[in-house]
Subunit: 273 residues, 2 copies
Amino acid sequence: MAHRSTIHETLTAVFQVRRFPETVRAGESARDREKSGTGAPISRSGRAIAARGRGNDPLPRCGPGERTELAVLLWERALDPAKGTWSLPGGRLRENEDLDTSAARQLAEKVDVRELTHLEQVWVFSDPDRVPGDRRIASAYLGLVPLTAEPELPPDTRWHPVSDLPDMSFDHGTVVRHARNRLAAKLSYTNIAFGLASDTFTMSTLREIYCAALGYDVDTTNLQRVLTRRKVITPTGETASPGRAGGRPAAVYRFTDSEIRVTDEFATFRPPA
Amino acid sequence: MAHRSTIHETLTAVFQVRRFPETVRAGESARDREKSGTGAPISRSGRAIAARGRGNDPLPRCGPGERTELAVLLWERALDPAKGTWSLPGGRLRENEDLDTSAARQLAEKVDVRELTHLEQVWVFSDPDRVPGDRRIASAYLGLVPLTAEPELPPDTRWHPVSDLPDMSFDHGTVVRHARNRLAAKLSYTNIAFGLASDTFTMSTLREIYCAALGYDVDTTNLQRVLTRRKVITPTGETASPGRAGGRPAAVYRFTDSEIRVTDEFATFRPPA
DNA sequence: CCAAAAGTGTTACGATTACACCCATGG
DNA sequence: CCATGGGTGTAATCGTAACACTTTTGG
């Protein structure tokens, strides 16, 4: 039997809340989605992009034909093994770094790590045959990038909505699901959303973030009250001017801490009835 | 620079609810711990052992001078490095096993693994210098042994109350705390207590288990209602005869499942006010 | 003024905690 | 018949969900 070396790698599911063109759910509940859906894949209005390019609070409202969704960063394999499938960023652990350091370093090849607001260990995948060739033990990580960041990406790399993952390499799909579940759970009892939000934001922006990350609808009012009571968010005192549609100007908030913290050990958001 | 090989090991915190002689809360926190802490865990009354030796529901009431507590299995190092400190069972990962398998195999040297009712991954410790010599990346596990089990132990191995750990090797103390926190958290929203309870049991026994594992007092009445509503426990229909002190015979229950399961995603036990 | 967006207040509900009271048994 | 657990029922509490109503702004 040939000698097989064992290497240790990290794999990071980097999440960001983004807008995607409405997906065409072919075959099934097709028509409704189609109408505004298919046509506009690339066309995120220049204005929107410009507005988000800046550092702060660009109220990303859902335009028609767009959905705000949790996205994960993937790159497409140009070579075998698993050519053409999509993979999580990551790579081999070096001799003198710990896993956290390694995950951050590997990510630097794909995104500007200065944009990375949070990184945490999620799970270890150790099936001896999880990938062909040498054995690779994978430590899975969860990473977060804020709403307003628009990092440059290498040509093989793209954001994909987690609700509609492409053909994934090896067990990378499982990794994404694990990480997403972890994120959703932690939204309830920690301030982890700081990693997905921009420096300052309005409550409706924050609501969109929570909706996207949790996968269900959240009430703005209650979100505000809960997060304020727990001192997770703090009003800056400023207000944001409304869009051209009018409306009352929104109060601007920021996260009290920029590091993860358990804010209420016994808290649980629940999906709507 | 000398070449340093990297190996992957597992470390398992095996927990069992056990009775210990009451710690003497003497003058300060220093002396008391030393006295009964290190020395005494052997002197459990013969009767208690006999009663618990059998397979089912021996209502372990706290006698005077005894406390029911969560215990962790440790062995004492006879050799350097860290001679005389206490370690978690574990060891090196083999080429053709995954981490779960490895953890179970390593444990077989310390306890009868047939007694092991649950085993799950908790964390990875990867600091390049966490132990002297070759680099060891440690995957930490949580293991459970039921109340009634009284496994044979090797001479260097002993149960220690988690509230009073001895001098621990390397980062093993941190591992124990991590695992214990994980256990406490999962008691709220999963049926993980099946791993700590015997096949069948009365509510007051189960209460003791929850108290020991959570570290705070739990109301028997409410525990029964909550676990019944969630269908975590099922009445067997039998009753246990009361002790010589008299009292109404207790209903006997069993856990509905003998595998971990999320029973109520949004549940949280809270400590008493 | 009217529509749109944001914020306030109130109620409803679900789950858990706390506790008083009734039941069954041994001595 | 009484002390000792065990079990049942009910009230109190806490947090979040739901929603109607008021405020502020643009057209």
